[in-house]
Symmetry: D2
């Protein structure tokens, strides 16, 4: 069951970095939220996803759009703990707030990742000013298409219409899922 | 005097390629128009501008957005005539309609280029569904920022507000004008 | 019949640009010669071949290695005449000597291209200090492999052994011939 | 005191990955050795150095040239332990043998790194067939120049002459040290 157009549930986190306090999605109503789910040892996240998240953060005024990172570790848990993530954030000079997804009890899949039904990393979730999930993408998406959807979300008024180019990024995503992402199974 | 938000004047052309008939901007009301001004021997147009124009054409449904090329030759006129342009279009597999700007009488600057006050190539002009010039950019612009503005224009209703990221691409443009464009002098 | 290891025949040219006098291969004995065959409207030549030729010219001392361009026009002859080539060289800031291959009498294939049995553009010919053809490649070759062969040719003494990595660039070349070159047929 | 042209001292290692047994430089006499020093959280190593090392491994026959990795951790030691490195190697699909540099006793600089006087990561050391250090580079080096030096080393006979292009890569290195490497201090 797709969560598109439904209100984005709050993240379940064990910790936050690059911010003094935990951030609730509720507190960001009125702004577009770019949520980037990654793992520090996911090659495509490092080469494409995180640089793109930083570019998005730099392209938009903070009062219009907020970029949040979500470290959703579902493999190599011991290699991607909080200390390692801190070192990674330092070396890669990541500036936006990053939440650590709450570890799952049994299967190692963290709780926010399960809640949102993410298929792997990198995953992008776009939440509109009314708090609704408007876009959910697994794998790499090119800047032009991402920019177009962001441009729609920062511009539109209350009515939520389907992004003009949603369909056109499917082949893209399919190819990148094979080559450039870490899949849950 | 900036033409931003004023109605885009019709192009003055000597010929059209990749289309059976001349295309008026008037006939495109209701659609967003991406007008890419280039010269076939402008390195930045070949490496960045034209591939970006093709990507825009492929990213949007034709009924939402139309891509037009405008060959604005202001130097090396003999090397960039109609026959040469035809060969160039064939080799580079350009699919969108391309107008040949009407040669200028005295200074060699073609008439549409003069009319729009373009500073050189590549230049991008974005025209909204109401036929108003909404964005005029000289030099390279990155895909994320361009996509954002296009996303706004395909989404917005009648009210024309300033694109959210217009300012943030200034440094970008400044740098690219030095390195990656052909200036009128 | 492969010409590998045989003495490189002199070019048959109609003109030279970026040099005061015609250049004979004979006059370059003692130096390695990097001969880059291109067409100004060949996309892969513009995007890969010519920038690579410039990088080679900048990487080696002139007394060790000489870069020569050869404009081998076998299609769109009217669009790629001397005047157009001059404008192209000016806009793309090419600094090395460029010969214009002598037009063919019947089939439009220029004479040096025929003499060397080139399959299309871009083509790279490497001639050693003794004037022997040591490498002939059609399509794009990556910098690492090209650099390795050049390093061998500038280093070796009189004995001509097969370049260590010749074989490994076959797949590469095969792929690029499909996607990134202009083939004679 | 430069070690260029002196015999490369053996590495001091705490462990090896991607190999059944420890590898001595002595055992590689007769082959060129490409030694790539990196840290798994060094951005330039991940984006440039390691992909280049893999490209070198794929470009040369194993009996001509051997690629060795050396994990020289001088910062964030807890985040870059053996388990983390194993996960990194798995995710980035590194295939060549990788040694873990022996941790330093006091200042955290590992012993092989000290012994070779490396300035940071990435660092490249090239060892010729006679076991002599012939090239030592800190920061990124472009493929063409690296390929040229490798081509010389696989080709040359016993005499060790200075690589033809050593000087030309200095500006390169200088620039990359600012932007694209992790420096010791």
């Amino acid at each position: 069951m797709s969560m598109i157009n439904s209100i984005a549930p709050e993240l379940i986190t064990s910790d936050w970095l690059n911010t003094d306090t935990a951030i609730s999605l509720q507190s960001l109503r009125g702004k577009v939220v770019f949520l980037h789910s990654f793992q520090m040892l996911c090659p495509s996240c490092v080469s494409h996803g995180l640089p793109q998240a930083t570019a998005v953060r730099n392209a938009f005024p903070q009062q219009e759009l907020v970029v949040l990172g979500l470290h959703t570790v579902f493999e190599h848990h011991r290699a991607m703990g909080k200390e390692a993530l801190k070192a990674f954030i330092h070396e890669y000079k990541l500036r936006f707030p990053i939440a650590i997804d709450m570890p799952g009890q049994f299967d190692g899949i963290p709780l926010s990742m399960q809640k949102y039904g993410m298929r792997g990393t990198p995953s992008i979730l776009l939440i509109d000013r009314q708090g609704r999930i408007r876009f959910h993408h697994f794998g790499h998406i090119d800047d032009l298409k991402l920019g177009c959807i962001l441009g729609q979300l920062v511009t539109e008024t209350d009515d939520a219409k389907t992004p003009a180019i949603t369909n056109s990024n499917r082949p893209d995503k399919a190819r990148d899922c094979d080559e450039h992402s870490c899949s849950l199974s």
